[in-house]
Symmetry: C2
Subunit: 200 residues, 2 copies
Amino acid sequence: MTVIEFSYDFGSPNAYLVHKVLPGIAAKCRAKLVWQPVLLGGVFKATNNQSPMTAFASVSGKLAYQNHEIERFIARYDIPYARNPHFPVNTIAMMRGAIFAHGKPWQAAYTDAMFNAMWRFGERMDDPDVMARVLTAAGLPVAEIMAAAQTPEVKAALIEATTRAVERGVFGVPTMLVGTEMYFGKDSLNDLEYDLARQT
Amino acid sequence: MTVIEFSYDFGSPNAYLVHKVLPGIAAKCRAKLVWQPVLLGGVFKATNNQSPMTAFASVSGKLAYQNHEIERFIARYDIPYARNPHFPVNTIAMMRGAIFAHGKPWQAAYTDAMFNAMWRFGERMDDPDVMARVLTAAGLPVAEIMAAAQTPEVKAALIEATTRAVERGVFGVPTMLVGTEMYFGKDSLNDLEYDLARQT
């Protein structure tokens, strides 16, 4: 069975948008979807990359166009979305939680809760009290997750996952890997789906 | 009838790729395709933008990925393509020729000949002798085109077309405009086709 590895950081609105549509693409193409948390700041540092907000800040019209592309995407796929008023939000606690969530029965619920808090409900998720409140509302094991995020094992595992992603060619998120074939950005979903359809 | 205005500069490989597939999309969606030559250097200067080659030169993996995206595109749409060994090539004479070609019966032949010379046959098109040879081989009115490219009217018209494109939001090429709706890059063709299909 074909595996799609989805590298993401909850801090990226485009990762949120891909998160919303990728399960449908995977199901349609009978591929298995694997969530791969990475720390985007670590990816940027390792690859000398930066966010579009920074890279294109001085280019007339470019960021406005990218926002318009988001609007087109959410309209086309009917995705609830709101810009986070606290952006940029430090996502390290959430991403460590995602490492801990891996393989747990509540992993999907955790991933949804974090993405929705960031890009639907505009929560200030780098505030531990806010994160705890969001986890509670989602019926997730709050104390366990918040404690795990502080352990050396989880911290090291997030660094390791980020390093491994960079070694495989990842320079940003959202990125989808199918073996060694890489698809970057929500704009590449059409290519991904085309390639998957040909494989099956 | 819906009109797609295609802003391009012969110096952009992605504009070449879009040029190859856009007529098919326009025909399928019963839209009229209008070629709109612009000088990419002028667009960049006006919008403080730069080529991906410059902007992402220091980002690990980014340019390699963009080249890979080109490879995926040419494989998917079966487009003959070769990187131009003389890149970057100054395109001003070719673009002035495109302004002069507008509305002429040989406009499509001219556009094809210039794009193919750049991104299929790797010609050094900023050499007037090379350009004249390519025009001759394509059966185009060489002397007329080369002379027109030096007139103040054609020079001014290219500047004017570039300024107008920037005023409408263009910050790079390839860009497709359908009224005020803008689609930038070959990655946006899927959105363009989706939107056009809904309008008809």
